[in-house]
């Protein structure tokens, strides 16, 4: 590689989709780019002109528009644009303009095509929304796959390096100061071209070996050598290294085969870091979920409450291990259900058997099996129609209070909207519940449904399951026949909309305004859940989980072919993003919440999130069109 092009390839190598490319492909791009400067306000791409290059922003900022002039995206350093145009007959469909003084690298069409052919990750990235979301969702599943992940991913910092004349004491000091466990020993000049490289000042160096923590013990202290011994005198002449684009698996094999625990990682001949066996082990850990059985062994509320930190720990582990959002959501829901069930058992132990049959119903995210670590309790009691309030309600009120207080003690805070069995309104016999649902469906107004939509995610947790099933049947029977109800639900589902995307450290709204953070639940997952619920209600599905609802929808003609897959990928990605940020909050010992701060969003994540927002936004537009307020409303 020509050293003069390092400037270009190093810059591109930091940003997706180039960060995943092989070194050879990166070199080829760098040697073929053309450069151009655009002053603030200049048109870069004009509608319908022919274009022959992919555009890469080296510095500055660019806005991309739709044909009608609506803002499509705002891009900064390291972003690319023009790929949609290149993939479709090379006519500009999305014009672009510099909004700051901007330096662009143009990547010629033939190089772009070669990248698409030779690198699947690159091809997925530049194709339209679905494939990228699809691969992002799939990649989360196999993020642990050591065969495909490149070893450079485990390199977190530059190696500690000393000259051969440095004393071993100085070398040891530098290792300690950097909290590293090994140091590379260099000598000036080149006798072994395989390990020779040039520093930024053009001096030639050669890596002559590595000194590890154990070398300091065995080669120096145990041998009784002076601390003033030059590092070059004790370094082993045998040097095992690995190239930065080798897989983690290859790195592990290299360590095992050569019986070494430290592996210098080289980009070409230049050292870029040192990987230790423990870095690899940390990457590939296993752990199970023993929490649930533990919950059922507790004999009082205090014991249960003590398990709350374990829930966070289990959550962090699952996310780190690459579980997808469905796995995490259902595991956390199972844990939440177990707490609730155990509390009900304890309540019955102290209050005695119930006077009439009942069903403890859960609503919201627990009913959907989509709980996250930040959650409150949503529950209700459906009682047998034999229920006589004066005689029996004292028991059920005490039961509800015991469970609700217990859940709060375990970290499932009281519901702000008072959707809890402690509320008399939500502690009623089945017949009353049936009349509630019939009334909501037959006489809907958006205002009324705003507070009751949470009951349209419903599942039995304990007791007489048939009661909840009866309600699910009623909904599945009546909702599809009630366009007014669906229209009212649809109107509510449009109250919360996604942002357009990200720009630098801001969230960018559709009107181009900036915000510092975004509540990913309010602006992403919750509107998606609302939207999918309406389609599910319209097709009479009794599924509660969003993914299962999407499967049910896919079996009807309700949405265009492939649309439910698209929604499912978008939902999965937004959920994962939210989970990951909650994991970061927990690791940094902050109270986890639903906010994500753009500065904590990785580049690839922000691209995919933007796609997901776009999918949601389009689906919301369709919702409005699909469930209009019926024109004969007055006659009904």
């Amino acid at each position: 590689m020509d050293v003069e092009l390092l400037e270009i390839r190093q810059h591109m190598g930091q940003f997706p989709p180039f960060d995943g490319l092989s070194d050879e492909l990166l070199d080829e791009i760098a040697s073929r780019v053309e450069v151009s400067y655009f002053k603030t306000g200049t048109e870069i791409l004009t509608l319908n002109e022919t274009m022959t290059d992919l555009c890469y922003i080296r510095s500055g900022a660019v806005e991309v528009y739709r044909r009608q002039g609506e803002l499509y995206n705002r891009l900064g350093e390291g972003d690319i644009f023009g790929h949609f145009n290149l993939l479709r007959n090379q006519k500009v469909r999305f014009p672009a303009r510099a909004i700051e003084d901007t330096l662009l690298y143009f990547i010629p069409l033939d190089v772009f095509q070669k990248l698409c052919e030779e690198d699947d990750h690159f091809a997925d990235f530049v194709e339209l929304e679905r494939p990228r979301l699809e691969t992002a969702a799939e990649q989360q599943k196999k993020a642990n796959d050591m065969m495909v992940t490149r070893i450079r991913k485990l390199v977190t910092r530059y190696p500690v390096m000393v000259e051969e004349s440095t004393t071993v004491q100085q070398a040891a000091k530098q290792v300690s100061q950097s909290q590293a466990s090994a140091v590379l020993v260099l000598k000036e000049g080149s006798t072994h071209p395989r390990y020779s490289f040039q520093d930024s000042e053009g001096r030639t160096w050669q890596v002559c070996g590595i000194l590890t923590d154990s070398d300091f013990r065995t080669r120096i202290v145990a041998e009784g050598l002076s601390p003033q011994t030059p590092a070059g005198d004790v370094v082993s002449p045998r040097l095992i290294t690995i190239q930065s684009d080798a897989s983690i698996y290859e790195a592990m094999l290299t360590m095992l085969r050569n019986n070494v625990h430290h592996l210098p990682v080289l980009y070409r001949q230049r050292p870029m870091g040192v990987v230790h066996l423990s870095d690899i082990i940390r990457y590939e850990t296993h752990s199970g979920l023993y929490l649930v059985s533990n919950i059922f062994h507790q004999s009082n509320v205090e014991g249960l409450a003590r398990l709350a930190p374990d829930v966070s720990a289990a959550f962090v582990r699952m996310v780190q291990e690459g579980a997808n959002s469905q796995m995490v959501g259902s595991a956390l829901s199972t844990i939440g259900r177990s707490f609730t069930r155990r509390l009900l058992e304890l309540a019955e132990e102290s209050l005695g058997p119930p006077p009439v049959d009942y069903c403890f119903m859960v609503n919201g995210s627990m009913a959907r099996n989509e709980q996250s670590i930040v959650t409150d309790q949503d529950n209700a009691l459906i009682l047998s129609d034999d229920f006589i309030p004066e005689e029996h309600d004292g028991y059920f009120k005490a039961l509800a209070t015991f469970v609700s207080d217990g859940l709060d003690a375990c970290g499932y805070t009281y519901c702000k909207g008072d959707v809890m069995a402690t509320n008399t309104q939500w502690r009623q016999p089945l017949s009353v519940w049936k009349s509630y649902f019939t009334d909501w469906i037959a006489n809907p107004t958006p205002e009324r449904l705003l507070h009751s939509s949470i009951f349209f995610d419903l599942d039995s947790l304990y007791g007489e399951d048939l009661f909840v099933e009866a309600l699910q049947d009623l909904i599945a029977e009546q909702a599809p026949k009630s366009p007014l109800f669906l229209a009212a639900m649809a109107r509510n589902a449009l109250n919360r909309t996604p942002p357009l995307g990200f720009f630098r450290t801001f969230v960018m709204e559709k009107d181009g305004k900036h915000n510092n953070s975004i509540n990913l639940k309010r602006r992403g997952t919750a509107p998606m859940v609302d939207l999918v619920r309406i389609h599910a209600l319209a097709c009479g599905s009794k599924a509660q989980n969003t993914f299962q609802r999407l499967d049910a929808i896919a079996n009807t003609q309700l949405l265009a072919t492939g649309m439910s897959d698209k929604l499912s990928y978008a939902f999965e990605f937004m959920c994962m993003s939210r989970l990951r940020h909650q994991m970061i909050d927990l690791q940094e010992e902050r109270q986890p919440d639903n906010n994500i701060e753009p500065e904590n969003v990785a580049d690839s994540e922000r691209h995919t999130l933007k796609d997901a927002f776009q999918v949601l936004s389009n689906a919301q537009k369709f919702l409005k069109f699909r469930y209009p307020v019926p024109s004969n409303r007055a006659g009904r």
């Binding site: 003069e4 450069v35 002053k39 510095s59 500055g60 003084d101 330096l103 000042e201 001096r203």
Partner: protein, 223 residues
Amino acid sequence: MQKREPLAKDPAIQRFFATPMPSLDTPISDVPMVALDMETTGLDERRHAIVSIGLVPFSLDRIKLAERRYWVVKPPRPLDEASITFHHITHSEIAHAPDIEDILDPLLAALAGRIVVVHFRHIERPFLDAAIKARRGEGVMFPMIDTMSLEARLHRQKLWARFRRWLGRPPVSIRLDASRRRYGLPSYQGHHALVDALATAELLQAQIATHYEPTTPLGALWS
């Protein structure tokens, strides 16, 4: 420049002057250019020598990195240690480098028909002239666009600059990196002839986008 051709005796220099050059009134958007930078062992062409040459052909809208050229050449005098810190080329690199004689033909061919763009013409122009004169017995002098003097026109010769000087303020820096920053151009790792040539080409594009027009005639820019 064609009128120089009959005077030249060396075939490469003849070919260089025979290639038609754009006229003074050509709009800058139609002018083929080449950004040139050299690293030298010092500032005086009589005592110091060229150690590396980088060039990038470009036009007002595109800088063609694929057509870049870069040569390290062996200076006639041995390198002294002090100059290594100046240009960052090491002994070992130079040990295997060709004499400048061997690259003069491809160098002149790469420059022919293009307007040479440099940052600070008082290095590239005399060094190139002296090197060619020493090898081929005749020199080449031709007009260049100097991005530093364009910057000086804006910051050193305006009334405002004189006022600043009168106030005792330090003059605005017109060095390559400082000039680039004024146009929002990124910082490059300096002191490499090809990186600096690229940086110079980008700077000229930025200067013209900011202070001139694509229709500005070549004659208004060269010196």
